[in-house]
Structure formats: C-alpha cells, structure tokens
Symmetry: D4
Subunit: 172 residues, 8 copies
Amino acid sequence: MAKVSVVMGSDSDLPIMSACMQALDRFDISYEVLISSAHRLPEDTASFAKNAEERGVEVIIAGAGGAAHLAGAISALTPLPVIGVPLSGSALGGVDALYAVVQMPRGIPVATVAVDGAFNAGILAAQIIGASDQNIRQRVKQYKEDLAQQVRKKNQKMQQIGFREYLDEKAK
Amino acid sequence: MAKVSVVMGSDSDLPIMSACMQALDRFDISYEVLISSAHRLPEDTASFAKNAEERGVEVIIAGAGGAAHLAGAISALTPLPVIGVPLSGSALGGVDALYAVVQMPRGIPVATVAVDGAFNAGILAAQIIGASDQNIRQRVKQYKEDLAQQVRKKNQKMQQIGFREYLDEKAK
Amino acid sequence: MAKVSVVMGSDSDLPIMSACMQALDRFDISYEVLISSAHRLPEDTASFAKNAEERGVEVIIAGAGGAAHLAGAISALTPLPVIGVPLSGSALGGVDALYAVVQMPRGIPVATVAVDGAFNAGILAAQIIGASDQNIRQRVKQYKEDLAQQVRKKNQKMQQIGFREYLDEKAK
Amino acid sequence: MAKVSVVMGSDSDLPIMSACMQALDRFDISYEVLISSAHRLPEDTASFAKNAEERGVEVIIAGAGGAAHLAGAISALTPLPVIGVPLSGSALGGVDALYAVVQMPRGIPVATVAVDGAFNAGILAAQIIGASDQNIRQRVKQYKEDLAQQVRKKNQKMQQIGFREYLDEKAK
Amino acid sequence: MAKVSVVMGSDSDLPIMSACMQALDRFDISYEVLISSAHRLPEDTASFAKNAEERGVEVIIAGAGGAAHLAGAISALTPLPVIGVPLSGSALGGVDALYAVVQMPRGIPVATVAVDGAFNAGILAAQIIGASDQNIRQRVKQYKEDLAQQVRKKNQKMQQIGFREYLDEKAK
Amino acid sequence: MAKVSVVMGSDSDLPIMSACMQALDRFDISYEVLISSAHRLPEDTASFAKNAEERGVEVIIAGAGGAAHLAGAISALTPLPVIGVPLSGSALGGVDALYAVVQMPRGIPVATVAVDGAFNAGILAAQIIGASDQNIRQRVKQYKEDLAQQVRKKNQKMQQIGFREYLDEKAK
Amino acid sequence: MAKVSVVMGSDSDLPIMSACMQALDRFDISYEVLISSAHRLPEDTASFAKNAEERGVEVIIAGAGGAAHLAGAISALTPLPVIGVPLSGSALGGVDALYAVVQMPRGIPVATVAVDGAFNAGILAAQIIGASDQNIRQRVKQYKEDLAQQVRKKNQKMQQIGFREYLDEKAK
Amino acid sequence: MAKVSVVMGSDSDLPIMSACMQALDRFDISYEVLISSAHRLPEDTASFAKNAEERGVEVIIAGAGGAAHLAGAISALTPLPVIGVPLSGSALGGVDALYAVVQMPRGIPVATVAVDGAFNAGILAAQIIGASDQNIRQRVKQYKEDLAQQVRKKNQKMQQIGFREYLDEKAK
C-alpha cells in the first residue's frame, strides 16, 4: 500500500518528476507513480482523486506544466494534502505553471514547491507524514543534518585547497 | 434552449461577466448563466461539461480568476468550443489567470480572450455560431459596421469642435 | 474550397505552424495555407481578410510573433472567428506575442491559444466547425477519447514495467 | 498545546493573516499566533523554529512580504512541514514574495499557497493534520462539501431570480 | 496644413494623449488630432496612413492600449516615421501595450516612447522635425535648457529653505 | 560627413548592431560607428552627444544592454532625435534593457525599437531623414514595396509547391 | 561638511526619499539633499558626481523612477560607493526602475535597495560608513537591537491580549 | 586577516562567484571565500554572520540563486554592509533571486548588484572600503580610468580598421 501517490500529466514529465521518487526512497516511504492528466484524462483523474484516500494514500504529489491544473483538479476531490510541482517545459518557461498551480481559490489549497522542484515535493511529503510519524520525522531531521554536513565538507575542502584548485577540480 | 452557456467560478465574477450576456443580447442569441467552480464544485462542473452538448449548447464561455481552471476543466469534457475569460481579481492582477487559461496542453484548447474581456467572449461566441449561421454572421458584420460608425462619429465630432472642447465635454 | 485558412506572418513560422495543418488533417477538414503579414503586406492581408468569408472560409487561424498583429488585423475585417497563435521567436520569448494577440479591444476578439500552440489552433478550428457539424463534432469526441486512451496506455505500461524501466526506455 | 504555529513577519500582516486563524477555528485545531521576523529578529525566529517540534507543534504557517524569507528561515531549522504565505504589501505587489517563498533550494521545501492566501494556509494545515487524524480529515471533507453546497445554492438562487436581479441584489 | 498627425484608438485616450498636443504647442508645430482604430476602423486607418504623406504630414504619433496595433498598422502603410505611445488602461497595466507597440518585425519600426509617454511623443516629433529644421531644433535646445533651469531652480529653493520646509510646502 | 551616428556600449554589441549599418547601406545614408559607454566612458559620451549636432549628424542610434543608459544619456545632451536599441545579452534577457531605454522621463524621449531591433533602428533613421528628404523617403517607400514583394513571392512559391515541400526545402 | 549626499531626480520624489534622511538622522550622520537629474540636468549631475569626493562626501544615495539612470550616471563618475533607490511612480510600477538601477554593466556597480526603499538606503549608508567608523558601527548594532526589541514587544503584547484584541486596536 | 568575506550558497555557484575574487585581487584587498547556506546550514551561517565583525571583516558579499536568502540572512545578524549577488541558475532565470535579494524589509538592507554580477560585487566592496581608505579609493579611480581607456582603445581601433574588419577579427 502506497502512502504517497506521485501523479504527472505526461510521461515527458517523468525525467524531472523522478527526483520525487528519489527523495521518497531516502525515507523508505512507499509510493505509487501514475501518469494521468487533468485535461486529457479528466475522469480517470477524478476517480483517482476521489479514491486515493480509501486506498490508504496520505499525500498526493502532482506535477504538470503550462496551464498546470493537475494538482488543483485533484485537490478539488480529496481531503488529502496535495503537493503541486510546476514544470518548466512550456514556451513561457514555468512561470505559467507556477501561477496555475499556486494561485488556487479560497478553500482548495495546493502546497506548491519551486518550478521543477520535484525533489522537494518528495521531502515535503516526508515532512507531512512526519508531522504524525516520529520515525519519519527523525529521518527528516537526519536528512537535514546530512545536508548540512555535505555543505560543511565542501566548505572545509575549499578552505584546505583554496577556491582556485577547488574550481579546477570541479571543471574536470 | 440555450445556444451559449456562460459559466463563472463565483458570483463575485458576475459584475464583469455580465458584459458577456450584454454582447449576446445584441445578437438575440439564447444563453444560460451558471455559477459553477472547477475547484469547489468539480463534479457538478464535470456533469455540466459532459451534458452541455446533449442539451443543445453550441458554445461554452467560462470566466475565472487566479489559478483559473474552469475553462480548461470544461474543455476537457466536451467536444464543444470553450471560450475562456481570465479575470483580474487576484493579487497578481490577472496575469495568473491569463496564463492558467491560455497555456493549455496539446489536444485541449481554450479560446482565450483578454483579461476581463467578457464582452469579447460574447462577440466571439456570436462569431463561432455565425461560422455556420448566416443570420448571426450578418449581424456580426452589422455590429462591426456600427462599431466603426461610432468611432467615425466621435472623430467627426472632435474635428468639428476641436479636441480641447471635446475633452472638456468628456470631463463634465 | 477551404473551410479553414491558416495564415502566418513569415515563412520562418512554418515549422511551428505546420502542427496546425497536422491537426486539421486528423479531421479531414479542408484548409489553405498562406504567408501574409500585417506589417509587411498590409493591403494583401486586408484583402484576404475581407474576402475570406465570400470564398467559403469558416474559420481563420493566424500565427505571428513579437508585436503579433496578424490575427487582430484580420479579425478587424471579417465576421468570421479568428484564432490567434502567439509565436515565441522574439528576444522576449513569446510573452510579447501573447499580449499582442490576446489583449484585443472591446468588439474585436481573437480566440487565442497557447504560445506556439499551433496544434491546438487546429483542434479549436475543428471544434468551431463542429459546433454546427455533427460529423466533425463526433470526430473531435473520438479524438479526445483517443487522446485519453494514449495517456491510459502509457500509464498502464508504466504500471507494468515500473517507472525506472519506463524512464530507461524513454532515454534510449 | 498548539498544533499549528502561525508566524508573521510584522504586525501589519495581521489583518490578512487572521484569515488563517479563521480557517483553523473551523476545524477546532489549536494554534498559537506569533510575530517574529527572519530579518529583524533572526535569533528568536531560529529558537522558535528549533523548539517548535518539542513543544508539540505539528505544522508551521509563516506569512511575509517582499524578500519574504520567514517561511524558508524556519523550514531550515525544523523537520516539520512549513506552509508559506507570500504577502502582497510591497511595491512589486506580491510577485517578489511569491518567488522568495516558493523557489526554495533542493532539500528545504516550503509548501507555498497563493499570494495573500492565508485562509488556504489554514485549510492546508488541516489537511496535513488530517493526513493522519481521521477526525480532522472528515471535517475537511465536510468543509469541502459545505463549500460545494454554498456554490450550488448561489447558482440555484441565480437560476430562480435570473442573473440581472442577482446582480442588483449584490450591488445593494 | 498639419506637420504632425496625432491619432488615438479611442476618445477615452484623449486625456492622456492631450499631453502630446501640449508638447507640440510649445514649438508652434502644426498638428491634427484624430480618433481612429486599427481594429474598429481598419479601413479608415489604412486610408489615413496611406494619404498622410501626400497631405504634407511629416510625423505621425499613434497612441493605443492593450493589444495596441495602431502605430504598427499605420507604420505598415507609410514611409513617414511613426511614434507609438503605449497606453496603460488595460488590466495588465500597460506592459501589454508596450510589447505590442515596440516589438515590431524587421522592416517596419515604430519609434516607441514610455507607457503613457504622450508628452515625450510630442517632444520626439519636434526632434524629428528639428533634424532638418534649424528653427525647431533651436527651440528644442531652448526647451531642454528651460527644463534644466526648472530643475536647477527647484534645487536652489530646496538648498535655501531646506528639504523639510520644501516638503511641507509641497504637501500644502 | 555622417548623417547618422551609430553608438554602442561595448564591442560585444557589434554583431547585433551591425544590422543597423546594413539597413543604412540600403539607403546610401552616410554614417559613423562608435563604441562609447554611458558608464565606462561617460565624459567622452557626453562630449560626443554635445558635439554631434555641430558635426552635421542628424540622427543618433544607440544600442546597449542591461541597465541600458546610453541612448538616454545621449538624448539628455542633444536636440537631435535619438533611437535606442535595447540589447538582450544580460541574464534577464532584454526586458531590463527595454525598460531602461523606453521608460524615459518627461522631456527627454528616446525613440525605442524592439529588443535587438538594430535593423529597424536603421530603417527608422532613414524614415526620420526622409521626413524632410524626398529622395530618402522615396527609397523607404521602395524598400517597403520590396519587402511586400518578398513576402508575396514566398507566398506564391508556397501556393505552387505546397507547404509540405516548402517546409522540406527550408529544412535543407 | 556632509558625509552622505542624497540626490533625487525630481522634487516629486522627495516624499519617499525623505525616509532616507530620517534614517541618517538616527545615526547623526551629516548629509546634504539635492535635486538633480541624469536626463534633465546631465552636466550639473556630472559635475556633482566628479566633485563629491573632493567635498568630503563618502557615500552617495540616488533615487529615481522609470528609466532610472541617476545612480548609474553618478557611479560612472566617482570612486565613491553609490546606493540606488528605484522609485515606483511610473505606469510599470517600479519594476522598470529596479531593472534600470540594478542591472549595471561590469565595472560600474550601483548598490541597489528595494523599490521605494529610501529608508534602507540610509541604513546602508550608515553601514558603509560604519565599515571603518566604530562609533557608527556600534550605533547600527544598537539600531538593529532596537528593531528586534520593537518586534519582540509587539509579539509580547499580542501574546498578552490575544491576536483578536490586537487586531481591534490596530483597526482603531 | 580578510577584509572581505565572500560567501556562496553552494559550490555550484563558484564559477560565477569567482569573478568576485578576481575583482578584489585587482585592488589587493584581502578576502576569504566560504560556502555556507541560509537554508542547508543556517546555524553555521548565523555564527559566521555574528562573528564576521570581530574577525575584522569589513564587507560581506553573498551570492545565491532561487529564493536567495543568504545575503538577507547574514545582513540580519551583522552591522557590516552586505552585498548581495542574485544568481541565475533556477528555472525562472534569476528574476526570482533578484527579488529575493533586493526587496528587503525596512531596517535590514542588502546592497544588491546585477543578476550574476559577481565582478561588480567585488568592485562595490572596494568602493565601500575606499570610502575611508584613500589608497583603495585611488586604485578604484585608476581602475575606472583603465576601464575608460580600454573602451577608448577599442573605439580607436574600430575607427582605424572600420567596423567590418573589426567584426571579422572578433569572429575569428
């Protein structure tokens, strides 16, 4: 049984959206991955949204580009928290998707992350689950410490070898 | 039986959307006016969209603001042409609604008019009906001639009295 | 006799605008393709716009970039519905064309589709013709079902092989 | 003990942010309300963020305008889910706050709602709590049904009295 | 015989466009003022554009808002320099008009001034006439000196009375 | 003696700005080409601006990117008409240069062309000179006819061979 | 002798720019206030910029709107740090001024603050002086502590009386 | 002991941020280079900000992209002047970082330079140090003269060989 549903509007979104699954894998959170579409497959999307809760899903992540309605269309039909990932594929470069995902009307929110921010959608799902699950919450804490540690190590390395050599190594 | 369905996401959209009915009245095109919402009333909206065709509707006009999904959500479920009116009520002033209405994905178009362009949505509906209905088409032609005549008369008046007096009269 | 006229401002627009003809071909809707220009060939464009109706054209599609006036210039001179395709070629990336196409003044609408949305312009033309032509309308319905079926199949495949293998296949 | 912490960068944000408390009141979710500031009171903000978890807070809501760092600064120091409300007070009208809240770097998400979307921040907090709390989830469902019912009633009224009279009543 | 034609798309543009005539009056440059419209009165606009040259006009100023095509439509049909004034009346606040006026295609320029910059359009017309007319050029020079003198005087006054008293006087 | 001065802020602007000289060459209008900079070489730029008139220059064209002040800085010091070309080189893609060139204060206009519109700056200079020079004006007319003829020929060719073959030929 | 020069492009900028003097007054930093203009008074502005250093000025603050070149024009002619305040008065609402102030070319920076951020320009000037002046630096520290204390007090008050009463008091 | 601290949010910012060190090297100003992060390493960033002053740092430069809070987070905790460099790496191309860096609230300024303007951040730091250090100030003056000289030389070369040959040489 999946705790998180990751839905995307098209299989062309998969390369970016897969960062989402990568994040969830870090916390051993079970998930399912679906292609649906608010516009091309509206009724399946509606059925999915209405049934997700019963199937035990706790958080839904939806990624779409352009007039990105997927997250909003799902949020309209479920009491579960819905995370929206605006994708940058269109000619307007993602600002269209951002506005279409985040500017939801009173009563029906979408928890929006950065344009192409699929990885963070996964982290946010973990934080939402961690709001009540101490194990996941501890792992989120650990993840943040690891993140801090990584930056610290990079900084230490740069202090040791100097920024010029660091830059040379990166360029290789 | 209504030829045109005018749908809006909230009754607060009615003052702007009523320009739409004003335009349709010019051509004696029958219409119905509904409040529905892609996000607050998704299933009624879906039923409406799926049944509009059978009920004899030929063109649908949908106005919404913010993450304006109404026109797209309807277009997803009907073979009828759907005209979208992006509304300017949100903090971002309508550019959000414009992007959310116009940037539809491949296969599911929305015929988008200007931000707050409800009157033009009515004219466009008349033009769409006039694509096959010679009577309406003649009336659209006449409307355009009237429009031209109005501008011509204003210009003639300004030529007669001069722009300063014209300006004074307007200011009164 | 063409039911749809597809006009573009420059032959450099043809690669993107040809998606429009591809869409019309799906529905066996007859069309003509023209290069004209509101700015470089204004009088031919005006003649075209004024005569289109008499020649039996029912819908006009006009694609242009930058200060994209082609659709508006045509709409000014015909009672037919005009679909505008804003193109993204300029340094401002298409937002200029979008505003120049969609923000038409009261009385003279342009049915605007997404930036570079030439394919959808063709679909919208079919929907407009289908407003009165049951055959075309049925084919639009069928097209939408096919579209839904395609997404469904992609989803089924991903459920079978998993998103990782699906991603690998796409990358090949 | 408060389940939700509502933090705002300035007391001038309170009129808009109070919609947040109004939403939480609907679900009888306990909350605390604080003024803090990522820039003017950074250390208190950091202490708050680090201790929120221990104090039993499950969700944090942070509203700020301009270079709105409050939500991000808190998210950096807690494993709890943080909801960001971009506020529109600055000369750039909220697009600055939206970008500053939503475009968070890999690893540290903020669940962003619409510009000035304080009410929806409260609903989203309820949905997050409802991800594990069946009682709250049921109330969220009920709330959505009430919302649908409200729109339905408005529509029914408009169908009965006609849009013109409806408009007249609203204008009063 | 008018040297400058000032054309505007609607009589509602007259309050802003009259600053243009005010500027031309400074240099005793003869002008005519017309209301025409690229969209509502396309053929009169075309006739005007084609005949302006023969009637002795040397510079054309065109002001319009929204999908502001007036300046471009005129430039398409005359060898005369055309100055475009983007107007801010639409819901998008003038950025639409600016893009629609300035982003003209290769071969057909419009000399664009600031949004609502009608006064500067008049100054620019004077500068264009002054390119070959020494009298007007001298008066443009004088105008610029007067402008400098005005700023200098304001500064001198502020130095004398101090900025606080200066501010108080302005507030009265 | 040069009638037109073409100034650019950096030699990196030369590839785009050279389209300007190409346009002027069409009309055998004499010109000079300079690199100057409002920010890096402010005093030379000021001297240039103040002396241009005496040296017989009639029109100045200035191209710059980013906070593009060159055209405005020159316009401040000459009664001659100044054409500004906003260039797209910066991270913000030219919208910064457009605003910095076009939004000039009351009294000091810059005749702004499209982003990277160097060719049109040359055409506009010819139109300005043609305002008083019948020979140049006739050549501008001829140029516009040639332009029209080119589009017409492309259209004729496409009518003959069909858009598919036309597209194939272009792709080669 | 003034340590800080506060320059503004027009006396209409004084109401907003006076917040700058208010900030400097907090630190007893001596200043002068001038009206100059990069476009209307370019030579006086240039003289001012070149002489400021000799007159003992250490920091220059320049505020302007629209195509806001004042700060850049001054920075071009002085080795002193120049702080730019983009002002929001134009039809484009300040985004034009922001881009024109901040996007300076390589070699000639302007230290840009928020749109209408005149108060912060004063604080930044104090911080710059405080980089070498321990007395001013201590006062900046004290100012920041006062600022923190203010927010803390507001928060304490809200904790005591509750946000509802706090809101009521503010509304009075 | 470093006079300038250059901090960046990620080692991926180093290639652009290294232009900063290049600028400081010109003036033999001592500096340190650090990787820290307002979001991933908030406490180390806070410690750094609080201690910088004591360690003898006089100016801090902070570069970050997206919801770029680094400069603001540091400015919140130090009386030193903080220069912010908005970086363009995100899907929104740097406008997000610009708004997040420059739109700081009253009391806590960040001296913002252009998007990706790391070199200018170094020059600005030199100017700030030069506000009290005559040696550095003289070198800034010299730098500006060198800059002017470079442009002058390029111009002279172009005058000698003509723009066509100059263009050819550049293209090689």
